[in-house]
Symmetry: C2
Subunit: 232 residues, 2 copies
């Protein structure tokens, strides 16, 4: 059975890491049995064996793999008899661009809308670490980052998400007729705000909303039915 | 022999449409013999037979096809024995996202850096049409759009192009080990400013510059050796 170290909040059942969600959805897509191990930001030593300080980390028999994309490629190569995560081999390289956009553009834009909502929902031992490390990274307080979010969310919807919307106006899933790892990357990003913040990111009239509804239904509602954090 | 209606400038040898470049590169990739027919913005009636007002349009025997992505899909389906444009079938759907980004984000950002350079390089009969239609679209003059380009180009490089850079830091081409249609989409976008403006978009230290150099070398220097427009 594969084990996945999965970022957790104050409620250990609340799992909100966009990168861990990519892995959970990839494991579900492959139909691979797994268990998740709740992990906190400040528990670096628990995953040191894998040579990383960040989750997701999976352990599959003798193999430890970290980094969500590396895990997806590992699962694809190791379980070729299971449903393909990238459509087929031709999907791996072009999915890299979407991955780069999701990590380099989309996540940062979401952070500016919700990051100040995180601390009260984190385990107590993680709160100071999270605030210090993120305020260092962004060069300002979490509250200053999200101060204009009522206005910023309009640009997030119309500008940042435009390439996603243009794609989903023309095909049912990012992977085409059926979801692939491309879809799990972006749904993972949306699970982050969905699980840890009440701030509404999407409008119901947006084709991206409809796509997300389809995605939340997958695997018996895996992503829909996950516990959502209450502020402490 | 396939014929391609290809947007031209005051010098009929100067071809600068990003969308036509995608098609020219796709035809070269497939090794398909073709000739190009120079076409001006104001010659809508010459392509009306294809049910469109925009190039590229190709004629292949009895078939007329328009829209660069539709042409790529047509070539892939019609000439499956030639080198695949999308790696393999699994590449088609995820390339849609890059296509949406290239059309919805990258082209608009380039326009704000170079669009005022176009009129003096267009055929005389196209100049008023181009200015009027673009100023309507953007809601301001071409000169106002590019007024801050010395500053805007810094954000273009560091922010707009980030997902491209992150991808090319990790793989040689957008298509992986070898160029695919994903690469032709983005090179096409870069051919637009390269052929019609002197304004420098990229820095030599940028991995995107190195990738573009590799791309300009393809097909005997097809994209590198194309005539560049002088201002009239």
């Amino acid at each position: 059975m594969i084990r996945l170290y999965d970022l957790a909040g104050a409620d250990p059942a609340c799992r909100f890491s966009p990168y861990c969600w990519r892995t959970r959805l990839a494991l579900a897509h492959k139909g691979l049995e797994h268990e998740t191990i709740p992990w906190l930001f400040t528990e670096k030593e628990k995953i040191a064996f894998a040579g990383t300080k960040r989750v997701p980390v999976i352990i599959d028999g003798d193999h430890a793999v970290h980094d969500s994309r590396e895990i997806a490629l590992y699962l694809e190569a190791t379980y070729p008899d299971r449903p393909p995560l990238f459509g087929d081999a031709g999907g791996i390289a072009p999915t890299r661009f979407l991955n780069s956009w999701a990590d380099g553009v989309m996540i940062g834009a979401i952070a500016r809308l919700i990051v100040s909502d995180l601390p009260p929902r984190l385990a107590e031992q993680d709160r100071a670490y999270f605030r210090r490390s993120r305020e260092e990274r962004y060069g300002t307080t979490l509250e200053a980052l999200t101060a204009n979010r009522e206005k910023d969310v309009l640009a997030f919807r119309s500008v940042t998400l435009l390439p996603l919307r243009l794609t989903l106006l023309r095909q049912k899933f990012l992977g085409g007729e059926a979801p692939t790892y491309a879809d799990y990357i972006v749904l993972g990003n949306f699970q982050w705000p969905r699980c840890i913040s009440d701030f509404p990111l999407l409008e119901k009239s947006d084709p991206i909303w409809s796509w997300r509804e389809r995605m939340l239904d997958l695997f018996g509602g895996l992503a829909r039915n996950t516990p959502v954090a209450e502020a402490a």
